[in-house]
């Protein structure tokens, strides 16, 4: 069956890079897939996979989603009712949480119990920018990230309420959650589309779900 991967466009983020990486992965691995950039809720409901990228502030991303009529309903339907594979990237991952303390206090999608908090500086440069390693939890999931460095850019992190939802952690001053996974929902704090071959491998594993 031909897959349809919808990359959600809500006016923010480097969408083109995300699309290029998915195109590259489907071409190199001979996976038949339509890779769409879309802001149409109906297209999202009909897709097999949804990717939510994100850049900038949490509240502007959340407001971007809310400003599209039917978008939140479509995302909820796709992920919670149809239970189809969903991937959040960077702020797109943070949006999965209950709320964020960035620029006040803002509600997220609330699909994975957690709170978005500021990384404590502790004399470290902020944002946390560059390549960092991940420590994988022992979980049997369809996505098995290669043990390698990934490209991060962020100043806030996902504080998971339930340890079972953590797939990987990364150290920058503190130990924070770098990959969350719960049933059909995945979220990565780093940018797989900018993380060389190991990042493309994660994208491949996601498309193959």
């Amino acid at each position: 069956m031909k897959k349809q991967i919808a990359i959600v466009d809500y006016g923010l983020g480097n969408i083109l890079s995300a699309q290029q990486s998915f195109l590259k992965v489907s071409q190199t691995n001979n996976i038949k897939a339509n890779i769409l950039i879309t802001n149409d809720p109906d297209t999202i409901k009909k897709s097999t996979h949804v990717v939510l990228p994100g850049q900038g502030a949490f509240d502007s991303c959340m407001n971007g989603l809310k400003s599209i009529p039917g978008m939140l309903e479509a995302l909820n339907h796709f992920t919670l009712i149809q239970k189809k594979p969903f991937l959040g990237i960077c702020v797109g991952m943070q949006l999965l949480a209950l709320d964020s303390e960035e620029n006040g206090n803002h509600k997220g999608l609330g699909w994975i119990k957690g709170h978005i908090k500021k990384l404590p500086s502790q004399n470290l440069k902020m944002p946390h920018m560059g390549w960092n390693s991940i420590q994988l939890k022992n979980r049997e999931l369809k996505i098995k990230p290669p043990k390698a460095d990934y490209y991060f850019v962020h100043s806030y992190y996902f504080k998971c309420v339930n340890k079972e939802d953590i797939l990987a952690e990364t150290v920058y001053g503190i130990n924070f959650t770098s990959i969350v996974a719960k049933e059909n929902i995945y979220g990565v704090q780093f940018h797989p589309e900018k993380s060389s071959n190991q990042g493309l491998e994660i994208i491949k594993q996601f498309i193959e779900i």
Partner: protein
């Protein structure tokens, strides 16, 4: 642990690389995409394009270059050179650049740093600062390092951080092209006062210089051009040397 980044910088003029690798058999050595791909497959942690096209018309060629690069290169890409408006920034980010590097435009009107970082996020706004020593301080130069602005460097750097710059690309004009190492004095002063990452640039000529940039200069990333392009040192050599000195890099 966070790794120290190694960044090769390519000069691009009218869509073609003018200072780039000249030791490998690339089908078309003037093609920025092939050069960027080569570096991304050979240990580069990011790629930097510096657009040195002289005229505004020719500057549009960089957009095409960025688009084509984003199709094939899957590590972060920074683009700088001649950026003077929010529209320039938007066009480059939309074409697939991950960060833009602003220089003279920030000196002319620092508000561009504030506006662009507010709008697109600090993470994609790099400010390039060219400095030259003058007595016991350092002054900021604009227009590709040709005009003395009279601005004192450290105060300027703090202002840029406050205005929302996500990263500083600090180039010593005294050291650039000398292959005698980074200006460690201004570099260490800058990295001490700033909370944002600093990319060191200008003067690197040996593996030891990269090491000093991290240990003595406190740099988060190291940028070089000719030593890589002429294969005097490979990125892998630099990384192996840094590993031998217990500096964490991505392998």
């Amino acid at each position: 642990m966070l790794k120290t980044r190694i960044i090769p910088c390519l000069d691009v003029k009218n869509g073609r690389v003018v200072k780039g690798i000249n030791f490998v058999d690339l089908v078309d050595a003037g093609d920025p995409v092939q050069q960027a791909k080569y570096y991304s497959e050979n240990g580069a942690d990011e790629i930097c394009f510096l657009d040195i096209s002289a005229s505004i018309e020719n500057r549009d060629t960089i957009i095409t270059v960025v688009k084509k690069t984003a199709e094939q290169v899957f590590i972060p890409l920074t683009v700088g050179g001649g950026i003077n408006s929010l529209k320039n920034i938007r066009d480059l980010l939309k074409a697939g650049a991950d960060k833009v590097s602003i220089n003279t435009a920030a000196i002319k009107d620092p508000e561009i740093v504030k506006k662009s970082s507010d709008f697109y996020g600090s993470q994609c706004i790099v400010v390039a600062v060219d400095v030259k020593r003058s007595g016991d301080k350092w002054l900021v130069y604009s227009h590709g390092g040709t005009k003395n602005t009279g601005i004192e460097a450290l105060g300027w750097l703090e202002k840029l951080e406050n205005f929302g710059a996500g990263e500083i690309l600090l180039t010593s004009m005294d050291k650039d092209g000398t292959k005698s190492g980074f200006d460690l004095e201004i570099l260490s002063k800058a990295t001490k006062i700033l909370n944002i990452p600093v990319i060191a640039s200008g003067g690197v000529g040996s593996k030891e210089h990269f090491y000093e940039g991290v240990i003595n200069g406190g740099a988060s990333a190291l940028l070089a051009a000719s030593v890589f392009h002429f294969n005097e040192i490979s990125i892998k050599d630099v990384k192996n040397f840094l590993i031998s000195k217990n500096i964490k890099v991505r392998i």
